[in-house]
């Protein structure tokens, strides 16, 4: 069951972050971003669906992707705390996306050679999507960081607030090391290499983090996740099994 749990963790990361991005739909500062953010949300939710479906089959207890996504409570969700952080302002959203994509891009690249065909398949699609998320979010981080006094201050605030959540990216989940998935710790080099030039151009300092925030993988979440799930799951729970 270690693979099931590891795939479920990944699926939770993608669904929760995808849902967060989708909250911008109709609220983005300009029409162009109002399309770009849901585009990225749909990339993540698409990946989540394939992973949930795969996890359901690995588990083999009759649950399907909907049961895994909509019928588990907050304590059963295993997503990274980074993924559930509130959208905040545009600086927060773009930095959160950059942190996540800069990790997932090398992760999926390593997963291309997985012995698990579904995982290798997801990786093939996701590497291209993550490359775009890095580019899109990175260009915004650069422009906000090296923009006006106001945007620079907000960008640096976002770094200070979100950086403590990045350590959890590199921790193995509750399932531990699984042969079919890449080791997370080794991604730090690639992650830092992606961020450094962006931070340099954005005139941002990468802070030291004495006390990293972790706990998502053991189901210990911030208070925001409960609200997110309540909204996301309400339709399914009111109308179980409904279809379009």
């Amino acid at each position: 069951m270690a693979l099931f749990e590891a795939v479920l963790e990944l699926a939770d990361d993608h669904l929760v972050l995808g849902h967060r991005l989708s909250e911008w739909c109709g609220h983005a500062p300009m029409l162009e971003e109002d399309l770009a953010l849901p585009n990225m949300a749909l990339d993540l939710i698409g990946t989540a669906r394939t992973l949930y479906d795969h996890a359901a089959k690995l588990e083999g207890r009759g649950r399907d992707e909907d049961a895994l996504a909509y019928l588990r409570g907050e304590r059963e969700y295993r997503n990274l705390l980074l993924c559930e952080r509130p959208n905040g302002d545009f600086a927060h959203t773009m930095l959160r996306q950059l942190y996540f994509a800069a990790f997932m891009q090398p992760y999926w690249t390593a997963a291309l050679g997985s012995a698990d065909e579904t995982i290798a398949g997801v990786a093939g699609k996701a590497v291209k999507e993550m490359a775009y998320h890095i580019r899109h979010a990175g260009e915004w981080v650069i422009r906000l960081g090296d923009g006006t006094e106001e945007s620079a201050a907000r960008m640096q605030e976002a770094v200070v607030e979100l950086h403590p959540y990045t350590g959890e990216l590199f921790e193995e989940g509750a399932a531990g090391d699984v042969a079919e998935l890449p080791s997370r710790a080794v991604m730090r080099g690639a992650w830092t290499a992606t961020l450094q030039p962006i931070f340099a151009e954005a005139l941002l300092q990468m802070p030291e983090v004495p006390y990293p925030q972790t706990g998502g993988r053991s189901g210990l979440h911030g208070e925001g996740l409960g609200h997110l799930l309540a909204e996301m799951q309400s339709v399914y729970r009111a109308h179980p099994g409904a279809s379009w």
Binding site: M30, L31, E32, E33, L35, A36, R135, H136, E139, R143
Partner: protein, 93 residues
């Protein structure tokens, strides 16, 4: 966002065809304009290449000159290639 520049977007649907004007968008600079064009105009697999051009770089003909610009061609039907039979081997022109 009133000072955000306007860009015209051109998409090439596939190799061998010309870029075609598809619309416009607002973006702060050319890099963000390209990204926005990708997100706004290629969501359904519309293209393989994107051009963005600052709208201010386009000089347009004056609608008041439409009569003198375009109407003189109306009676010169001999300029249309409809008097020639195109051999089948030529294919799509």
């Amino acid at each position: 966002m009133t000072e955000t520049p306007l860009w015209e977007v051109f998409i090439r649907p596939r190799n061998g065809l010309a870029h075609k004007h598809v619309g416009s968008l607002h973006a702060a600079d050319e890099v963000l304009a390209l990204q926005a064009a990708r997100d706004v105009y290629t969501r359904r697999g519309e293209g393989v290449s994107i051009w963005v051009v600052p709208s201010v770089a386009i000089t347009a003909s004056d609608p008041d000159h439409a009569a003198e610009n375009f109407e003189p061609t109306a009676d010169k039907i001999y300029r249309h290639p409809t008097f020639y039979d195109i051999p089948d081997d030529v294919g799509h022109m």
